[in-house]
């Protein structure tokens, strides 16, 4: 990647925080050259920089060398248009998209598609590193809780679930083969997953009414492998439990995990937009996590016991 910054347009209601906006506008390899305001992306919470406003992608593409589009809310039609124009796209998981729309999205190009994930969170980076070290052997079973404080919405639940599924696959190297799920108040979504190679896992997503970010909710991964037991918790001291040794306690991250995630995604988008043929683009993989979400929601809604466990399409 050269020293010149890659032109990027941002769109959507805005980032989660002012800090995230700082990261967007201050990235080493990406330069925000304008804000795209469409009918579905009105004036946002944090878009307050003095950059040009565009009313459509065609107008934005007049910027010489435009290569990247950052969405803070998914817009499938706009993403397909951008990808076809060779513009790399980062978008949150389009949980409301139909299977047909997802299919179109997954085959669009030549721009690279990146769908938001949390693999850059300190907890998952640490987990992946430890699993790949071999110290814990082969992942057998996992339990992931992502109970987040703050406002509750089904959109947030579904996006969190997709990211959680992707996280488990990322950490373990396994894929989901079937799912049984249950939904409940406070946007609870509990998934019981069959994984490839005989693995299995649970994912629990919900919203906690406790709004103190440090004190409320639960973001914890428990992984039992053939050689050891791994327990990692985000935003709290992390514990690696190997009882044959003295348990070691360490804190990683030390800040809001979301910022690590957004910075990592920006790096990925820059790499994908610059030259990396694969980039770190995870579009197709996240689309599979979306399929798991759809199966889970179908399972939760299905009254008959026979239909509650749904086999998914083969790994792409």
């Amino acid at each position: 990647m050269g020293s010149e910054r890659i032109p990027m347009v941002v769109t959507g209601p805005g980032p989660e925080s002012a800090e995230e906006e700082d990261d967007l506008f201050g990235h080493h390899h990406l330069e925000v050259v304008g804000i795209l305001r469409t009918a579905t992306s009105p004036e946002g919470r944090f878009w307050r920089r003095d950059v040009p406003l565009f009313s459509c992608l065609a107008e934005a593409r007049r910027v010489p060398g435009l290569q990247a589009l950052w969405m803070t809310e998914p817009d499938v039609a706009l993403a397909v248009e951008a990808l076809a124009a060779g513009v790399g796209v980062m978008m949150p998981a389009p949980c409301q998209a139909s299977p047909d729309e997802l299919e179109v999205l997954s085959t669009s190009g030549p721009g690279k598609l990146l769908i938001a994930h949390r693999r850059h969170s300190p907890m998952l980076v640490q987990a992946r590193r430890l699993i790949l070290s071999g110290e814990y052997g082969l992942p057998w079973v996992m339990q992931l809780h992502v109970i987040t404080p703050g406002a509750s919405s089904s959109t947030k639940r579904e996006r969190t679930f997709v990211e959680a599924i992707d996280a488990l696959c990322f950490v373990s190297g396994l894929e989901v083969s079937s799912v049984y799920a249950r939904t409940g108040p406070q946007n609870i979504l509990v998934g019981s997953l069959d994984l490839t190679r005989g693995g299995c896992a649970t994912v629990s997503v919900a919203t906690s009414p406790v709004t103190d970010l440090r004190g409320g909710g639960l973001r914890r991964l428990v992984l039992a492998g053939s050689q050891g037991l791994l327990v990692l918790e985000e935003d709290r001291p992390l514990l690696s439990v190997r009882a044959s040794e003295a348990p070691t306690v360490s804190r990683v991250g030390g800040g809001a995990a979301g910022r690590w995630v957004s910075r990592g995604l920006l790096d990925e988008l820059a790499a994908a937009s610059a030259c990396d043929p694969e980039g770190a683009a995870t579009g197709r993989r996240i689309l599979r996590s979306l399929a798991t979400l759809h199966a889970a929601l179908h399972s939760a809604m299905t009254a008959s016991a026979e239909d509650a466990v749904i086999s998914l399409m083969p790994v792409p």
Partner: protein, 337 residues
């Protein structure tokens, strides 16, 4: 004075005998008057360790002892019906290790025999006596976290049953399967926590220790309640290394949450605008057997009622079926009591 005859001298009996010693030390008027096990060496060893002179290989000798008012049955589950019915017919109050039996016919026979004889029957659903679980129950009942909608408990351990391939616990004919043997604890706890009976059970099981195991040494269970509540229970033995252990519980309510794990130095973190901590000590068998003795002394219905123990078994049998079939199983709506 309540003189107790303890029948079955396997692993769990030692925890019971320790608890009786603590109860005596705390001033409770109880004495273990004899122990029995068909494996005479085990009974003798237990007698030596706890200074109990009356050591038998035939439990019926304890039933013949008129000074013994109650029996504590720690024998494997298949023996429960014979021993409990005989004890009731001999006029002894009965404490039974969980599960009450391996099938509902046996459970009903035990309950009927105790009712007919007018003796107390209590089953050792010990998890509800664990300090953290009691604290969680108090937290929920107080309304501190509003309406509880989700709860998750996690027990993962390197423990494996003693006896290797000969362990009765890994033989489903002897144990009913791990969902009956240990799932019964979790089911009983959640029914009591929510005071509601699940209407759907789904279990995924795995054989971590060996694919040749006839029982699931790992399972997770999703309990669905008509109210909209959900409970997730994760239970595993055979974790590596053998001394690994992690326990946790989390309850999410409409107005707060409670969170405990075994790395938090016995603290239940509660957040309903504030964070409180309670020190929790392991004392489940002490509390459980104390509750049994209280009910014998007072002639009251024990805190674990026979119908609750039967319900836990019924649901555990369903859970075992779900684990083996891979299918969720629906249950009729009914009240908890």
């Amino acid at each position: 004075m309540i003189r107790v005859g303890l029948i079955g001298c396997g692993f769990i009996s030692g925890l019971h005998l320790d608890a009786y010693e603590r109860l005596r030390a705390a001033g409770r008027n109880v004495e273990v008057a004899g122990v029995a096990d068909v494996r005479g060496n085990l009974a003798a060893a237990m007698g030596r360790k706890y200074a109990i002179d009356n050591v038998e290989t035939d439990y019926r000798h304890l039933l013949d002892d008129s000074s013994i008012r109650a029996v504590d049955v720690c024998a494997p589950s298949p023996a429960h019906r014979e021993i409990a019915v005989a004890a009731a017919e001999a006029g002894k109050h009965v404490f039974l290790e969980k599960p009450i039996a391996l099938n509902l016919d046996d459970a009903d026979a035990i309950i009927c025999a105790c009712e007919r004889a007018g003796v107390t029957l209590m089953v050792g659903q010990s998890h509800r006596f664990e300090a953290v679980n009691q604290e969680v129950k108090c937290m929920v009942d107080s309304g501190e976290i509003g309406t509880p909608w989700y709860a998750s408990s996690t027990i993962v351990e390197g423990y494996f049953w003693p006896g290797a391939w000969e362990a009765w616990q890994i033989n489903p004919e002897q144990s009913g399967g791990n969902l009956v043997q240990n799932g019964v604890h979790e089911i009983d706890f959640y029914c009591g926590l929510f005071e509601e009976v699940p209407t759907r059970i789904f279990v995924r099981g795995r054989r971590l220790g060996s694919s040749h195991l006839d029982t699931f040494d790992y399972w997770h269970m999703v309990l669905s309640f008509e109210s909209g509540r959900t409970a997730l229970s994760t239970y595993s033995y055979s974790i590596v290394p053998p001394d690994a252990a992690f326990r946790a519980i989390y309850v999410l309510g409409s107005e707060g949450e409670g969170r405990y794990d075994s790395t938090s130095n016995g603290t239940l973190w509660r957040s309903a605008g504030a964070t409180n901590a309670a020190t929790l000590e392991p004392q489940q068998f002490y509390l459980e057997l104390g509750a049994f003795l209280e009910s014998v002394e007072a002639g009251t219905v024990p805190v674990v009622t026979p119908s609750q123990a039967r319900l836990a078994l019924e649901l555990a049998l369903v859970a075992e079926r779900s684990a083996r079939s891979g299918e969720p199983i629906d249950l009729p709506e009914r009240s908890y009591g």
